[in-house]
């Protein structure tokens, strides 16, 4: 039953225009950024002097500087690593696929675009009432939920793969040569990144089901993706620190968007484990809420 429902949901997704338009936009963004970061210098970009030092004209010197920077990143602690941006002078001087891919997957764009897809994919069911057709076919709302989760999971995986592919193509076109720093680490990074992005998508799906509106789901997705929530969390952090006297507490460390945005290709095993635990907890909460809705709420 789950397989049949998933097939049906995949077919539905395949007949939606946004299924194709959104990845095209993502590829275009990746290509544009590749071009900007790899072909334009800081003056052309109007970025002025970098906080990480002046722009290095000579290619060899630049590569040397990149190595130093990377060594620094790998050897320092995580917080420092995060501040050691791979973008020097507004230009990527480490053209390795791992690092460029990292920049794109931790950006808000991927979350924003996935929010739009999930918002439309789920919201459409409520705005057209077609959920009732599917419910009768499946006879079980939880199976339907599972089928939609699988579809969204596959879509977000396809999204990650597409970003990787377009990053490689972008580097091949605008960069010097395509090379990988550590392919195994990249695969590991991609898998964890996908799990986090999938969890975020599931959150948008839950919101879409709760509010029964694609517009609301997309709007909330944008709010989450662009860190508006983080501002609220920062205020909560201040309160928690004051009330409980905890100095280094940050609620964003325990949110999906916070984890996605601070996740790096060189993040430690501890960081990855913590991220997976956060994803697991969030997914469990999402599933529990959705099952509860399925058990109690009537279809419109």
């Amino acid at each position: 039953m789950l397989f049949r429902m998933t097939k049906s949901e995949l077919y539905r997704a395949s007949r939606m225009k946004c299924t194709y338009i959104i990845p095209i936009i993502m590829v275009a963004i990746v290509m544009l950024l590749c071009f900007m970061y790899m072909r334009l210098d800081s003056e052309q970009l109007g970025l002025g002097e970098s906080v990480f030092g002046t722009y290095i004209e000579d290619e060899e010197e630049r590569e040397e500087a990149m190595k130093d920077d990377l060594t620094n990143i790998v050897t320092t602690d995580e917080e420092e690593a995060r501040s050691g941006s791979l973008i020097g002078e507004g230009i990527i001087y480490d053209w390795k696929v791992d690092n460029v891919f990292n920049i794109f997957t931790s950006a808000a764009d991927i979350l924003l675009l996935l929010s739009i897809f999930v918002g439309i994919f789920i919201g459409m069911l409520h705005s057209t009432g077609t959920d009732k057709n599917m419910l009768i076919a499946s006879g079980n709302r939880n199976v339907l939920f599972g089928a939609r989760a699988i579809t969204i999971g596959l879509y977000s995986l396809m999204f990650e793969l597409l970003i990787l592919l377009s990053t490689i193509v972008g580097i091949a076109i605008f960069g010097k040569s395509v090379s990988f720093d550590d392919p195994v680490r990249l695969i590991k990074y991609m898998a964890v990144s996908w799990i986090m992005v999938f969890t975020f998508s599931m959150l948008i799906m839950l919101i879409g089901n709760l509010v029964r509106s694609q517009a609301a789901a997309i709007t909330i997705g944008i709010i989450l993706a662009y860190g508006v929530l983080n501002m609220i969390l920062m205020l909560v952090d201040i309160l928690i620190r004051k009330i409980f006297g905890v100095d280094d507490f940050a609620l964003s460390e325990y949110t999906i968007t916070g984890r996605i945005q601070s996740f790096r290709v060189f993040s430690s095993t501890g960081y990855i484990t913590k991220s997976l635990i956060v994803c697991g907890v969030v997914l469990a909460i999402i599933t529990a809420i959705q099952v509860n809705i399925n058990r109690k709420r009537d279809l419109c």
Binding site: S8, R12, K132
Partner: protein, 308 residues
Amino acid sequence: MSEEYLLVTENLTKRYGKNVLAVDNVNLHIKKGAIYGLIGRNGAGKTTIMKMISGMAFPTSGEFKYVGLTGTKEDAFSRIGALIESPALYPKMTAYDNLKIKCLAYGIGDKEYIMDKLKLVGLENTGKKKAGKFSLGMKQRLGIALALVGEPDFLLLDEPINGLDPQGIVELREMIQKLNEEKGITILISSHILEELAKLATDYAIIDKGRIIEESTKEELQMKCRDKIAIKAKDTAAIVPILDANGYSDYQVIDNSTIYIFEKLDNVAALNMEIAKAGILVDSISVESSDLEEYFLKVTGTAPSKDL
């Protein structure tokens, strides 16, 4: 519970909030192979009943059992085809795609099957036209085609005639009859066009303000709607020999106080005389006539006042 039934509901109740009682202790008995007409005004609770028995809404209390279908309730839901309220369509997809999505959910990937369903409802030539651009009637037809995917045993049609032109209504009626007779599909149909319902249904339930006022077969309802002499008396049993003696054979004793006579309607005065001669007191004797619509208005207490 009798094996001849497909669906039985027991005190099915649906309450929205504290004040709105949409369905109030409804007991339906839908026989296998029947075309069951649900008659009621807008807001009477017809759609809510259909939603509950198809799993779209949860009853507040009471229950329903698909006694005529095997497996769990969830299995039974997948044996249902439903067109409830407006047809649920993806407006930016073609009729074919709309059907294919549901077909895949049933494990049907056959293109011919989908084309057959489109042909059945006369939408085989819609091509790439999006469902959102369809006329109301076309949408309704597509909704029916969707309901027929998976060859259901039980078809729920909520106001299926809405938006259809006269020819479409005739075609739909013929299709429903065909599905019922040839494929043995049990059909629950609601409509506010009672005349149309009367041409189709084999059983009826009249619903008003969430309550079932009356559940009857077509024959029983026809009997009630026929022109007749209605005699109200304290002792109907005593009147029967008088009727027999005077050559009346087409009559029915409804209860202890009512008899309906369906012949010699212009002999009311003579009959009254014969009963009086026997010393039986008659409370009232009159000729009554009503069609299904009048009957419905009468039993729901919504008939227009004669004084007006």
